[in-house]
Structures are given as structure tokens and as C-alpha cells.
Subunit: 239 residues, 2 copies
């Protein structure tokens, strides 16, 4: 069930059998939830974290004006709110962007895990820091980069992250987001996303069709996006 999560971890850190066993024992239950629901509200007191096993989630901050900004999108294998283990209350919502399956991991179990397996504790600390790196990249994009480049970059990021868990093949991946969702990621209006998407489509590098992203020319797209995947920290680490 948490196979995608283990794929992510194994790629970074070799796991021994004991560790894999502990990790498999983390979830207390698993539930399916439809798209467009709020799983966690800001400032709620939390006693568990959510491990995403299927579908897409987002971290959303809402403005008083009604505008919503996503600060990160979570893909299968991600902990959506591992940081609630230390923060206990979140400064943002967790929302479903598609139908999802999430496993609940009680903080009490993470408590045991970090006490008994310092190396796994470090790995999870690492993962929350990678989330922060993604936030930084998004802040950079939102503040300093054109709509076209931002959009191209986002499609590159999704491909690169999905590839790790086997959900993108040959630059093609299932893509549940609407243009409205893209707008909330990119700090744009849906209308402008639509126009930007058309522009990018015209280059022939990539297209979104039938809820799928198809990257036809990865080097060109990555160059257009100025995409450098180092910020995703997918290279093996020594801990």
C-alpha cells in the first residue's frame, strides 16, 4: 500500500529489512476521498499525518479575497503533512485535487519510529526539508518568472517527481488538474492559464489532452522552463 513511498525512500537511502518493516507498519488505516474536499483545515490540532498512496493533494492557502494559492502539490508516495508531526497545527489547508487514497499515520507511531530508528528520523526530517525546497522554488517562480516559464516548469516538476514512483513513462503522465487548479498553483487566472497553455502547445514541446500530459520534447521543454531538478533532492544521499 505504501509501496510508492518506499520507492521514494529507497531511491535516496538504502533501507534494511528492519526499517522496511517498521515503515510498513506506520499507517493505521486507509481511506478513499473524492476530489475537491478539504482533508485538513488550517490551525486544526493534529495527531496524525497523511501518507498519499493514490491521487493528488495540494497545500492551499486562502486569501480573504477568495483567491487561493497552492504552495505545493503532493503526488503518490508523498507525506502530505509530515511537518504536522512537529508543528501540530498547520498554516494551510490540505485539499484533494483528484480522487485520492490516503493512509493515516498516527503521530504516536512516528514518535516511536523516531525514538527507535534515528536514521529514519533523519530521513523524515530530510523529507520535510525537501518540501521546503519545493516551496522555495515555487516562491522563486511566482516572484521572478513569466507565466509561460512557470507553467512549463510545473509540468517538468510533475514529470520528474512522478517518474520516481513509476507514474510517468516516456514523458506521459495522468494529470487530474483542471486549468483552474493550474491557476491556483501558478498565481494566475484561469483565463491566462488557458492562453499560456495554448502558447506552449504551439511550440509542440508538450500538450495536455484527455487528462494527460504528453511531453514530446523534454530537452526543449526543460530549457524553456529553465528546469534544474537539483532542488528536488532526488539523488542518493548518505545519512
Amino acid at each position: 500500500m505504501i509501496e510508492a513511498h518506499l520507492m521514494r525512500l529507497r531511491r535516496l537511502f538504502p533501507l534494511n529489512e528492519a526499517e522496511e518493516g517498521v515503515l510498513r507498519g506506520l499507517p493505521s488505516d486507509s481511506r478513499r476521498i473524492p476530489a475537491r474536499r478539504t482533508l485538513v483545515h488550517e490551525h486544526d490540532l493534529l495527531d496524525h499525518s497523511l501518507l498519499l498512496t493514490r491521487g493528488w493533494l495540494g497545500r492551499a492557502k486562502d486569501a480573504g479575497s477568495g483567491k487561493r494559492q497552492l504552495t505545493e502539490v503532493h503526488l503518490p508516495g508523498d507525506f502530505a503533512d509530515l511537518h504536522s508531526f512537529t508543528l501540530k497545527r498547520l498554516d494551510h489547508k490540505i485539499v484533494t485535487l483528484s480522487d485520492v487514497t490516503v493512509a493515516r499515520v498516527p503521530h504516536a507511531r512516528l514518535e516511536e519510529l523516531t525514538a527507535d530508528h534515528p536514521r529514519l528520523a533523519r530521513i523524515y526530517w530530510f523529507l520535510t526539508n525537501v518540501d521546503a525546497a519545493v516551496h522555495r522554488q515555487w516562491a522563486f517562480l511566482l516572484g521572478s518568472v513569466s507565466a509561460r516559464q512557470r507553467l512549463a516548469h510545473l509540468l517538468c516538476e510533475f514529470h520528474t517527481r512522478l517518474d520516481v514512483v513509476g507514474l510517468s513513462r516516456n514523458g506521459i503522465y495522468d494529470f487530474p488538474l483542471t486549468q483552474d487548479d493550474l491557476a491556483t498553483c501558478l498565481g494566475l487566472t484561469p483565463v491566462h492559464v488557458n492562453r499560456t497553455l495554448q502558447e506552449i502547445r504551439k511550440t509542440g514541446f508538450v500538450e495536455i489532452r484527455d487528462r494527460q500530459v504528453r511531453i514530446h520534447d523534454w530537452p526543449a521543454l526543460a530549457k524553456l522552463a529553465d528546469f534544474h531538478p537539483e532542488y528536488l533532492y532526488q539523488q542518493p544521499s548518505v545519512l
Copy 2:
């Protein structure tokens, strides 16, 4: 020397004497560096983190176009790159925004600390997660908020964070940033920062003069900024 850092921690978590002793022993040395230098380059392999004891630092990401975006500003008492303890290489630069004094904390010492004092380990994990919360807030501001509100919000954030370490009194704090620096924080051009600053000055809520920020009407400024400090996680926590 690391008094400001201890002030931050004590406000969140009561520290016993043993813990304070360990924390005081963290820095290996301390150095002064002038403004406008790069202390850490992206992708460098790091074996220590920087504890800021005086002055202001920034986390900067540079675009190919020459545009620079700050994703966080660090104030006295902050670890500027505690996350390098787990990441080892950063996806951004650390730059001085003013003359600063930084203490170097070898990762080896953090290694000992986290092994011997699990509670301090958790506290430092918490702090890196607060940095991520600040990134989220900035991403939100950059993506979904007007220049005026963004600027007002930034001045609110600085006040609130400086207050914890005793560096803002009655809404007045020393402010080393130029309008160019503000532009790199806010994703704006210096020209537009100038004009936005004039607008805000006209409200009478706050002004920047002689390298000082003077907040004359905090409630009004906070309202203008839609500032809610929860994302800074300054309330006492139980760990």
C-alpha cells in the same frame, strides 16, 4: 553570543540547564562579514550551518535572466541554513543583506546534539519546518497578493520576528534593506517598490526613514496586510 537564538528557543520550549549548556557549546567560531557578500553558494557541499547573531541574511535564488528572488530573510537568532544539516547541499545562496556576525556550527556537533538530546533534535526539526512555513507564506504573497499588501505584510513579519529577540520596540526597528533589496523579496522592480512605499507612507500607518521602520498604527497596518502571525509559530509548543 547566541543569546538571541536562546531567546527564540526559550519562548517556544522551556530549556533546562543541560540543554542550554549544550546549545552554548554549538558554535565553533564567529566571524564578521560585510554586506552584499555570498556566504554559501548553491550546490556546495556543506559541513556546517550558520547561526546569525547580528545583522540580516537572505536566501537567494538567481534566475538565468539575472533576476534574483529572496525566499526568506534571516534575522538575529536564526539559523540561516540549519536545513543543510540534512540536505548537505543547498538549492539557493545565502547572502548578507547587511554587515553580519555569524557563528559556524559544525554538522558534527549537531550530529552529537541530535543523538544525545532527542528533544533538541525535535526542536531543530521544528525550526526548519517553521522556515518552510515562511516560504509558504511568501509563495502565497507572491502569487496571490497585491504589491501594496505584500510590502505591508513583509514589514509586519519583520516586526513580529524582531520583537521576539528584542530588536523591535514600539513598532520601531533598524532596517538595513534598500528598496532594491525589498524588490528582490517582493518580486517587484525597485521602481515599483518606490512607488508602493510612497503609497503606504501616505496612509500614515508606517514609514521607512533613516534605515529604520517606524510603525505608527499597527492594527491598521496589520489589517492592510491581512497579517496573521500564526504562520510564524511563535506560540509556546509542547514537545
